[in-house]
Symmetry: C2
Subunit: 420 residues, 2 copies
Amino acid sequence: MASNHMAEAERMARRAREAARKLALTDTATRNRALAEISARLMADCDKIVAASEQDVAGGRQAGLSAAMLDRLMLNRPRVEAMARSVDEIAALPDPVGEIIEAWDRPGGLHIERVRVPLGVVLIIYESRPNVTTDAAALCLKSANATILRGGKEAIRANGAVYRTIQSALASAGLPADSVQLVETTDHEFVNALLRQERWIDVVVPRGGEGLIRAVVDNSRIPVIKHYKGVCHVYVDEFADLGMAEEIVINAKCQRPGVCNAMETLLVHRAHAGEYLANLLSKLASLGVEIRGCERTCAVFSSAKPATKADWYAEYLDLILAVRVVDSIEEAMEHIAKYGSAHTDAIVTEDASRAEQFVRGVDSASVMVNASTRLSDGGVFGLGAEVGISTDKLHARGPMGIRDLTTYKYVVRGRGALRT
Amino acid sequence: MASNHMAEAERMARRAREAARKLALTDTATRNRALAEISARLMADCDKIVAASEQDVAGGRQAGLSAAMLDRLMLNRPRVEAMARSVDEIAALPDPVGEIIEAWDRPGGLHIERVRVPLGVVLIIYESRPNVTTDAAALCLKSANATILRGGKEAIRANGAVYRTIQSALASAGLPADSVQLVETTDHEFVNALLRQERWIDVVVPRGGEGLIRAVVDNSRIPVIKHYKGVCHVYVDEFADLGMAEEIVINAKCQRPGVCNAMETLLVHRAHAGEYLANLLSKLASLGVEIRGCERTCAVFSSAKPATKADWYAEYLDLILAVRVVDSIEEAMEHIAKYGSAHTDAIVTEDASRAEQFVRGVDSASVMVNASTRLSDGGVFGLGAEVGISTDKLHARGPMGIRDLTTYKYVVRGRGALRT
């Protein structure tokens, strides 16, 4: 790694740490004023931002990006308005910083508090959507964290324009310019140099596909909060309400197949592996879903393709569904433990003890009972704007709200208390 | 790395994962019964354990270990009794698993709970004290985690004897043998192979000196919860109660200088840099403390050695103290931010707004107001047996109790709830 990259990355990270120290001392009103300024200036600067995005889209078209990719890149006035609204919504969230999580007294006149504080410096690495630039900056500012943003190279002009808007808002609100920094080089080695600034950066949140996330984890010395993928299951239990099961299965697969909380594998108790399963799969097929089944599935639904082992591990993000008939709830849970991604898994059952068995035994971030996997979402859960989704066990698990951008400190007050 | 190490480490880690899945389903009473069995069998097997430890001590003496090291290694009957008592105390703690941390309802008939669950598989790497073997096993069992223990090679016979006692207790209580596993090879490469089992092991907790912890962090692909060192400060503010300050300073330095929450650097406001400081340092010197001071310190206390930059970073763990006179609370906070280890830092002041400024501005795991740094401790805080101390920002910070060996899952219950 070029040493000038390391030096420049360290300078950037140290500036962020300095800004974080100042942000930790700011009050809620000041940070909210900065967010209001960002929102207002996004609208004021809308033409400039849209023009910059047009250049990105033109560049992307020349580079042969797909229509879907070009659509993700593109900012127009309604999208900039939506970005401004999202900043307003983040401003309206309660300030997590300073919350006394717990407080208690101890012998010797000690009063102990666990107080919520910002993490410090957050590095966010994301792909093409430029709206992440304002979302991420706003989430971090609201929680008094300094942030370093590194967006996809395709959106570099739009991100730069949005960043300049954010800078003018910070200046107007009297917050340090280094509260939000944008990496404007597209050199991957510079990102890798940032990922080695564990002395100055507290956490990395990568947002994007599995390839991006693995690259970040492989190169980072800083803790990463992440999920690699969502191989989500719905298990239709022996004691399921079968009408409800059908609705949940169709919703979990078809309502938006391209996202991480869509169902990828359906597990069905053998009690329903006959006509019910055949009808259910026909309905899915009529909705455009390709079925890849185990032997017993293929036996009742002849248009199914035989599933291979790779299908049980697959995150299709598409209208494809792996289907397996199981002999018991235990077999369903074994399957989920072996092939799942610990993101979101659901059981459909009317039997309360089966539901409890599944809830306790399935080691996933979100476990749903008689509810669609698609409901595993920060907005649906009421956490406010979503920072991301974690399948890690440490710190934050499942949909991450703004509170997950904080940690705590112990504050201990005495009257000359000593250790004896 | 030898591939047989990787294969064997993976087998061990997978067995731990299987045991963890079973432990997650056990009730409090079963786990407490296992802990009671461990305690009772430690006493029953005491002679065997002491005999094994005598072999370790004899080996250590031959290898030329220091008297202090040999003392740490050594188990006799009172120490085995203390280990058994410690297991009983852990059994008596409230079970953290299953606690509903928060619960709320959301539109569409969703009931959402955040439920405390075990982390899963915990790898604990420690140095010579064999009592960690029972402490760590008991803390993990109580919180329904499977654990892999890797103790220091000097204590390998005592650890093996204790481990066989734990195994007989697990069998008697009907818990999986792989709930607790002991690494019985002394090959470092095998530990490094374990540190790559991120698929099966959830967290590593290293307990020992800075060298051990850095080696673990450098080799681990699994998240590590840790503190490297404790460079703890006491700042005697302009508005301090000077009698209280003297008591706190002497306690923080002298009560037990060899531990991570002992004070290493004293910061004194210039208002007290005359006779008061000279008297305080004389008292410390009379208690055997060597003073290494800044220029202004040396000017008022002639027996002080001049401090070098290395002294501000030093964790002496000894009767040595770095002393610096500062012009303001801001300069004290700057010093702590620059040289500190974010472990525990204290202010002595009667001025509430100064105390608040320090509490908000010092980014350490524990911030003490008018209290000794030595009070930063799980037992003192009332957390029960201490798992360790963390200076990380993620997951657990400060003294770690048994609750820090847990994570949470979201449990969502609906009546056929769908995403619309």
